[in-house]
Symmetry: C2
Subunit: 683 residues, 2 copies
């Protein structure tokens, strides 16, 4: 248990050859021979096929696994909190108190949530490369989007049971079509509530030893009935053993390990400090808002769970690369790859590293307008609804190939699901975010920037936020449905202030996006592809691609680590939870846990750590033993792994797992969820 900073200042994610246990491996290029040699386990193609068939991707950015014959899915509680929040009736706080469906008919649909299981992968690299021949800048970007859309639609058609997605692997080295079986009716079965799932709160987040029951159960439905899933994995409540080989199957989010040094420098010098500054101030605003009363406190606590997690991740990323040793090694790795590739490829290689360096001034110059107006402007449901409705209306009027790619035929159903389902919108949090956004636009672009004037006019951030949030009716799903169905005519006729605001700024946002695609995205794609080619020429298939929130398999072992000479044990037990509870938030016990203390086996393995290489997006991944049984669910990395976007250090990076043993014990003795437990334990 130590400081994030101390963990990071000494970390060494050096971009050298892959270490033991490193890798976000695709299922079709898993280093089975290496694993066999290291751990004596045979990860056969059949093993992988079986695991793939039961591996689930959740559209909230999480992973999961099918663990029962009737569509029962295990994931993390923190992947189900939005659902718990949305479905709780007035006066109930499922997020805090948890939820257990007493019977199947009590299982309620999570709004907007899609679950997907990968059915097949097709290599479309030649076709996608052909699409880009002779093009550059925005023309390249647009041609590739259109090409991807055509491939996706060609493979999935308009079948809403499927989702086809083109995945760019190895930073432009491969293009693959991923075809998913999609389930759009996913219901909540069980959540323990976040006092048990997130005991220790932000101070313990990413920490270890840890004492969190971070699990939830969902169920896949179709046509109003649970989906039959005979291919489910076996849930095994036996405790893990030290040194045991283990595997995670999940969807690591975007990582940056294959980026060049100049790209990482732009993150270090610009995007990460800007993000950290933004998250810090927003965090401060939300914390102070939460102190104004009990209702505000509840809202703030919920929102802070995500916000402080993001903050810690960005903090970890920045401090991992804010490190001359790391950057020197990164530059050396670039130079080494370049020299080796030149020897193999000769002059045909060109100098994509120099090209990448030349892109950075434009990336820096365009960054602020892009991030503030177009790419990721504000965390607001109402604005996202408005922008989504405005853009869907405009884009649906075009042929799929000419649309913004997120509105292409293959993506539109997911967008529609997100936009039209009923979510709980919190006006107070909306107001904080909209006002904060407008303030940052004025601060970072300047009071006299044309974009500041476009957004604010003669208003102050506060008066505009008052009007946009106060008078918008977009929280009502029926209003959104009418605007979706009515298309651009309805949008233009709407007097909803948020719709009119989104409509007003949309041309400028699109202009900014086009500039970004022309000067940054397109040229970066070109340079990345050349570097990927160099990497394949030098390393062959011994390398894994950066994370892309698509299915990967990692391997490792149950193991603690040594922290400056002190051993951090691999396991915690229930008894450790009771020792750590002080009674003061966030170290206060859920009352059910306090009451059940004497009934629980205090030596039950609670959480544990493994050497598996995971990253955000892997949350909810099953932790599998050699037989592909589910012995836990991965829910976090340790502090040392927060720089994992840039590399992996097997000596100290750890995956944090909730044991199946703890889940079984808690379901039985604390939550009385014996029917659920029986379903899990069914042969």
């Amino acid at each position: 248990m130590k400081s994030l900073f101390a963990a990071l200042v000494l970390a060494a994610f050096l971009p050298v050859a892959a270490q033991a246990d490193e890798g976000l491996w695709t299922f079709d290029n898993f280093p089975a021979a290496k694993v066999k040699a290291a751990y004596g386990v045979d990860i056969t193609p059949e093993w992988r096929a079986r695991v793939q068939a039961a591996s689930v991707r959740l559209s909230v950015g999480c992973s999961a696994s099918v663990v029962g014959a009737d569509g029962l899915v295990l994931t993390n509680d923190h992947c189900a909190t939005d659902c718990a929040h949305d479905i709780g009736p007035l006066g109930a706080d499922y997020r805090r108190d948890g939820y257990l469906a007493a019977k199947r008919t009590d299982e309620q649909t999570c709004p907007g949530l899609d679950a997907e299981i990968l059915e097949g992968v097709t290599d479309v690299t030649p076709r996608m490369l052909a699409v880009g021949v002779g093009l550059s800048g925005i023309a390249l970007v647009k041609a590739r989007s259109a090409g991807a859309g055509a491939i996706e639609t060609g493979a999935c058609g308009s079948d809403r049971h499927y989702h086809c997605q083109l995945v760019n692997l190895y930073q432009g080295g491969q293009f693959k079509l991923y075809k998913y079986r999609k389930y759009s009716d996913v219901r909540l079965v069980f959540s323990p509530g976040d006092r048990a799932a997130f005991f220790g709160g932000d101070p313990d987040n990413f920490n270890f030893p840890r004492f969190d029951l971070d699990c939830a159960f969902l169920r896949l439905y179709e046509d109003g009935k649970p989906v039959a899933t005979p291919y489910h994995l076996r849930f095994d409540p036996a405790p893990p053993t030290l040194g045991e080989p283990v595997f995670t199957s999940g969807n690591p989010g975007g990582t940056f390990r294959d980026l060049t040094a100049v790209q990482v420098e732009t993150q270090r010098d610009l995007s990460l400090p800007m993000s950290l500054t933004r998250l810090s101030e927003l965090r401060g605003r939300v914390i102070a808002f939460g102190e104004t009363g009990p209702d505000a406190g509840r809202l703030a606590d919920e929102y802070l769970q995500d916000l402080e997690n993001d903050y810690k991740v960005v903090f970890g990323r920045l401090f991992a690369i804010d490190n001359p040793t790391f950057m020197d090694a990164k530059r050396a790795a670039d130079a080494d790859l370049r020299a080796k590739a030149e020897a193999k490829l000769g002059p045909s290689l060109g100098d994509p590293w120099a090209d990448m360096a030349k892109i950075q001034p434009a990336a820096q110059a365009l960054y602020l307008h892009d991030v503030l107006i177009e790419r990721n402007p504000v965390d607001s449901d109402l604005f996202e609804y408005a922008r989504g409705l405005v853009r869907a209306a405009a884009e649906r009027a075009k042929p799929s190939a000419e649309r913004l790619p997120e509105y292409s035929d293959s993506q539109l159903p997911i967008r529609e699901h997100q936009l039209l389902d009923a979510h709980t919108v919190e006006p107070a949090i909306e107001h904080i975010n909209i006002e904060f956004w407008l303030t940052k636009v004025r601060e970072h672009l300047g009071a006299d920037d044309p974009d500041t004037k476009l957004l604010l006019g003669r208003d102050s951030p506060q008066t505009l936020a008052d009007r946009l949030v106060g008078a918008s009716r977009l929280a009502d799903p029926a209003v959104r449905k009418a605007l979706w169905d009515g298309g651009m005519a309805a949008i233009q006729a709407s007097d909803d202030p948020m719709i009119q605001f989104a409509l007003k700024i949309d041309p400028e946002a699109r202009r900014i996006r086009a500039a970004q695609e022309d000067q940054v995205t397109g040229p970066t794609e070109r340079a990345s592809e050349a570097i990927a080619k160099a990497r394949f020429a030098v390393y062959g298939d011994s390398v894994y691609p950066d994370g892309t929130f698509s299915l990967r398999l990692s391997y490792g072992a149950v193991a603690g680590w040594s922290d400056h000479g002190k051993t951090v044990p691999a396991f915690t037990t229930f008894s450790g939870l009771y020792d750590r509870a002080t009674g003061q938030p966030p170290f206060d016990l859920d009352p059910r846990w306090a009451a059940a203390q004497s009934k629980l086996n205090p030596d039950t393995v609670f959480d544990f750590v493994t050497t598996n290489d995971i990253i955000g997006g892997n949350s909810g991944s099953p932790l599998l033993d050699a037989k592909a049984n589910v012995i836990g669910t991965a829910f976090d990395g340790n502090l040392e792994s927060l720089g994992g976007d840039y590399g992996y250090d097997g000596a100290v990076n750890r995956c944090v797992v909730l044991s199946s043993a703890a889940i079984a014990e808690a379901l039985h003795k604390i939550y009385g969820a014996d029917a659920l437990l029986a379903e899990l334990m069914a042969p």
Copy 2:
């Protein structure tokens, strides 16, 4: 008018030979010949002596000048806002509404404020170097402190009319004794109020064009009577002219231009991002607190003026050096100096750059505990009172040479003045800061760090802040006086929770300080001295020392600049203010200004920019013409100059000045301050 970010991303504070107009020159090493050649002005020793005699340093971290025969002093309003806040009677808001003493007897003493005029400088370099011979680590630090204290006391004795201060110039290259005539009764004569002085608020802070009447007048008193100051400078309300040579005399705060690349890297990678993160979250907390009601809003706005200024400065500093071009040039400059010095000095030079690099891991490892527990833990009056009283009690029991240097005989009167004068303490702001501090201790050191446990015990940050702020009586000056007079016995017997808290953590804070001095401060002093020796050997006296909040003279000219091809004019006028006013804060007019519009000459030069090299601490510096007449008061730099801690770029760095012309016009037509104006204009 542009974005801070855009200003900085393209700035180039390259650490090369001093540019035209660059330099924070000491009065005894002013490049008079260079100025004569460039501007045709003779800055004679007599000119400098006359300016020095009327240049004032204020203990709030500002500069000022004597501009009238009866101790009348001109500075910035933002240097007098704390005073205005402190002296305002209940129900009055001098800070917002301003203050004009109708007659001399209405002039009220600013609590804790000292004004100092430099009388003489003595070189004590040989003596200070001798003190350190053969010592290293903490022994060096302690010997130097004792040596400095002995020199200071030797020169000033116990005469409270004087303050003697040892100043380390050129990062260890020279040690000089500065002897100041000190005035401890400084009274507020006039403040325009911050709606006029700080029109445009944070969005316009460091911006230009600018429209701020950022001036205040103070008066030096002694024995209850105004001090006679026949040596005052002449206040000249004639408008400045384009290209006119101008000078600032003031006290630039600590800069880092002579630091080595590895030291700047530690700032870039650690201290600056940590500061920015801290300031951002605190800013967010204060902004959200300010939205809870009108009283909270007023408190928050006041506090935010300082906080957002600090934030912008740190932002500017970080983004100036978050720049591979800057860092490459910095490294090249280190290597160049090293090569040239080796050629001159041979092996006696050693390798202080390598020594400096070896110190950085310790500097990084000790940083967080030092900054969170000892160096700069929290912006809280109550905690500062408690720590000051606890330490003063302990230190006064020792001989001066053995004390912490800030409690030596020469410094003690200033500390006593600050600790015992009546200030307004704002419990709500105190609570925010204390709770925030404790949260950051837990976050950055970890919940299980011994220092976190020492500070928090079983409390949460909130419950401890409730108790410390809620029950402390240290806001009462009488309580502080009794504890000061009672010494350690009174401290130990006190049941004030803040006193007991400061007492409890003091041994650990001192231990941290000792480790820092031993592993960082001492070794850095040694390496810095060797590098300073190298710099003198190579550059002779053609270089100026980094800022040390001691008296410096800068030169330059009235000049706009070119911003990406667009010319920013050098002057604004009153009419521009009325054009910029939107009616929405912070672009709303002070009602007196709104009412006076038709009376004012719209073409009066309001604010203007010059090429003078200034930095924080220079605020309030007189802007002098060739005849040493005061034609304005410097109150800001432009956004481009925010990286000024690391260098100066004459093409775009500008000093922002309020014209004497505007002051005279406003005093007469807006504030009816004709007596004050007559005093200013007296021959």
